[in-house]
Amino acid sequence: MHELMNVNGNLLKVKDLRTYFKTEDGTVKAVDGISFEVERGETLGIVGESGSGKSVANLSLMRLIPDPPGKIVSGSIIFDGHDILKLSSGEVRRIRGKRIAMIFQDPMTSLNPFMRVSKQMMEVTRLHLGHSREEARAHAIKMLEHVGIPDASERVDSYPHEFSGGMRQRVMIAMALSCQPELLIADEPTTALDVTIQAQILELIKTLKAETGASVILITHDLGVVAGITDHILVMYAGKVFEQAPTNELFEQPGNPYTRGLLRSVPDPTSEQGSLYQIPGLPPDLAHLPAGCPFAPRCERAEDVCRRDFPPFVQLTPEHYSLCHFANEVFAESKQEHV
C-alpha cells in the first residue's frame, strides 16, 4: 500500500475542468468548467444523457482524451495531492490501471480478444506490482474467484469471447481491481446487461467497495442505478454540472428543473400508469448552444432572463448546488410537493 497517502479527506479534487473538441462545426465544449470532489470510500454518481459530457469528464480524469481533436484547456485534477494534468505521461501511466482503474460499458473495449484472460491479468500485476509469473497467476485466479467466476483456476486460461456478457463484465472488474486501486471509475458498467445480471454486478461493486475501501465514480444515464449505490450525485447537461447534492437530498428535493424533469420522466413501476411526464425538445447541439441557460429551450419554467443570461450556481444547502436562475424557487416547490 501507499505509505504516504493521506488517510482522510479528499482522494480526488477536480476544479474548473474544461475539455474542448475542435470540429468542423466549431468548438464543442464537451466539458465546460466542472468541479467536484471524491472522498475516500465515497461513491459519486455522474448522471447525464448522451452529449452531457459525463464520459468525456471521465476520460479527462485519466488523461485519455484523444488530442487532436480534443484538449483539456483548463482546470486541475488533484489526485492524492498531485495534479494529474501536470504529471509526465510516464507518471500518469503509473497511476492509471494501478491507483485509478476503469471499467466500461462494453468489456471488450478493455479486454484483448486475442489474448487469454490469464495473460492479460498477469501483465497488469507484473507491471504495476512487480509480481513474478507464479505470483501473478495465483493473484489472477484469486481475483476471478473474488468476483464470482466459477472454476476460476480453469477459466483463467479462456479467451474473453468464451465468457457470457455478465461473466465478461466480472472478468473486467477482476482485472480493474487486481492492483487494489484507490479509485474505480465505472462508465455505464451495467447498461449493456440484462436486469438480473445488472443486479448481480451492482451488488458485486458494492461488496468489493466495502471490502477494499476504494472510492467509486459511477457514470450512468439511469437514475435508478445511482439511487441505490451512491453517496453523492452530479447531474450533467451540456457540459455543465446542473445539480450536485447528496443522493437522498437530490431525489427527495431536487433544486433544478432538469433534474426534476428527469426524475418525473422515469416510469415508476410501483405506481399507477398515466401519461408520463416528458421533457420537450431535444438534447442540445454542443456546437451551437443557445445564449443564456442551455436547458432554457426545453425548460417549462424558463423566463426571459433564462434565455438571456447564463444561470448562477446557487448553493441551496451546505452540500447542495443547482445551476438555475430559479434554484431557490424550484427547491422550495420540490419540498412542498414531497410533503
Binding site: E49, S50, S164, G165, G166, M167, D194, V195, T196, I197, Q198, A199, Q200, L202, E203, H221, D222, L223, G224, V225, A227, G228, I229, T247, N248, F251, G261, L262, L263, S265, V266, P267, D268, P269, T270, E272, Q273, S275, L276, Y277, Q278, I279, P280, L282, P283, R298
Partner: protein, 355 residues
C-alpha cells in the same frame, strides 16, 4: 383465458420457431436446433397493449417477428381475425401486412439512408397503391404532423435527424397504411431517457386515437409497466407469466418474475435501501439445450426435484393471472408459503387447454 366480450385480434397457438444451428454440412443434418420460441400460446385483444418482457436471448424478438411472419414459424398458428397467417401464401401474406406493421429498435439501421423522409414515409402508400400525386404528398405531411415532425423536414435524409426523430419517422412509416396491429420491438431502447418518455407518450396517444393494438416488446421493465395493459414474461422461449400489468408488478407469482421485478432499479434511494432484492445466480442457459422440466429450475431458489422433470404449463392461478410453476396453485399462490418440497400446482398441469 377469462371471459371477455370481444374476440382476440390475434391468437397465437403453440407457436414454435426453431433455427437450425450452423455447421451441418450439405449431406448431414445440422447439429442441433436453437429453440428460440418453443410453444407460445397468447391472445392479444383489440385496443390493448400487450407488453412482452424478457432478458436477451429469451426469444421475445423472434416471437414478435414470427407473428408477422418476418421470421417463418416452425409450427403453430397465428390467427388474425380468425385467419391463420402461418398458412397464407407469401403473396397473400404481403397483402395482409397492410394491417400488420412493425417498429424496430434501431432507428439508425431501419431507415434507408439514401431516401428522403418523404420517400420513406410515402413508400408503403405506393406499395399498397393507397395514394399518389398530391394526395400522397398530403398524406405524408399529415403523418409527419401526427408523430410530431415538422413538414419542413420532408426533403431531409435520415442522418440529419436525432435518434428520437428517426424513431418518429419509423412510427410514421408504420402508420402510413392505417394498420390495426403494430409490433413495437424495443422502440425506445436506443434513446435517451428524456426522449424515451416522449416516444412512449406518442405511441400511447396514437393507440387511443387510431384504436391500434400493440405487442410492445422490451427488456425495460419500467417502460413495459408503463405502457402495457397486460404483460407476458418470457424465459427461454416460453411464456412463464401473463397478467394485467399491475398484478405482474405488485404481485408476481412465478419465481423468475419475482426476481426480475425485484432487480429493477427504482429511482428512489429510500426504496432502494429497504427493498429485498432477489439476486439470481448465474446466467440464462443456452436455448440450444434448454434445461429439462422447468427451464428456470437451474437458477430458481425454490426449485425442487420435480421441477427438473415436469415442464410447467401456463395455468390460471388468480383471475386473469397465469403462471407456469408447479410449486404454486390457485389454493396456494404464494410460493413463500408453500410447504418445503410441496408442489401443489403439479395436479393442475394435467388439465389440458387451460393455457
Amino acid at each position: 383465458m377469462s371471459e371477455r366480450k370481444t374476440d382476440p385480434l390475434i391468437s397465437i397457438r403453440d407457436l414454435k420457431v426453431h433455427f437450425p444451428l450452423a455447421g451441418g454440412s450439405l449431406f448431414s443434418r445440422s447439429r442441433g436446433m436453437v429453440k428460440a420460441v418453443d410453444g407460445v400460446t397468447l391472445d392479444i385483444y383489440p385496443g390493448e397493449t400487450l407488453g412482452l418482457v424478457g432478458e436477451s436471448g429469451c426469444g421475445k424478438t423472434t416471437l414478435g417477428r414470427a407473428v408477422l411472419r418476418l421470421t417463418e414459424p416452425t409450427s403453430g398458428q397465428i390467427l388474425f381475425r380468425g385467419q391463420d397467417l402461418a398458412t397464407l401464401s407469401r403473396t397473400a401474406m404481403r397483402e395482409r401486412r397492410r394491417q400488420l406493421q412493425i417498429i424496430f429498435q434501431d432507428p439508425y439501421a431501419s431507415l434507408n439512408p439514401r431516401m428522403t423522409v418523404s420517400q420513406i414515409i410515402g413508400e408503403p402508400l405506393e406499395t399498397f397503391k393507397l395514394a399518389r400525386g398530391e394526395a400522397r404528398r398530403q398524406r405524408v405531411r399529415d403523418l409527419m404532423e401526427m408523430v410530431g415532425l415538422s413538414a419542413r423536414f420532408l426533403k431531409r435524409y435520415p442522418h440529419e435527424f436525432s435518434g428520437g426523430q428517426r424513431q418518429r419517422i419509423g412510427i410514421a412509416r408504420a402508420l402510413a397504411v392505417d394498420p390495426d396491429f403494430i409490433v413495437a420491438d424495443e422502440p425506445i431502447s436506443a434513446l435517451d431517457v428524456s426522449i424515451q418518455s416522449q416516444i412512449m407518450n406518442l405511441l400511447d396517444r396514437l393507440r387511443r386515437e387510431k384504436n391500434l393494438t400493440y405487442l410492445f416488446i422490451s427488456h425495460d421493465l419500467r417502460a413495459i409497466r408503463h405502457v402495457s395493459d397486460r404483460v407476458a414474461v418470457m424465459y427461454l422461449g416460453r411464456i412463464v407469466e401473463l397478467a394485467p400489468a399491475r398484478s405482474v408488478y405488485t404481485n408476481p407469482l412465478m419465481p423468475y418474475t419475482k426476481a426480475l421485478i425485484s432487480a429493477v432499479p427504482v429511482p428512489d434511494p429510500k426504496v432502494e435501501a429497504s427493498r429485498r432484492r432477489i439476486v439470481l445466480e448465474g446466467d440464462v442457459p443456452s436455448p440450444i439445450n434448454p434445461p429439462a422440466g422447468c427451464r428456470f429450475h437451474t437458477r430458481c431458489p425454490y426449485a425442487i426435484e420435480a421441477c427438473r422433470n415436469v415442464e410447467p404449463q401456463l395455468v390460471q392461478i388468480k383471475p386473469d393471472h397465469f403462471a407456469a410453476c408447479i410449486r404454486i396453485s390457485p389454493e396456494q399462490p404464494d410460493i413463500e408459503r408453500v410447504a418445503p418440497g410441496a408442489a401443489p400446482g403439479l395436479l393442475d398441469q394435467f388439465e389440458p387447454g387451460l393455457a
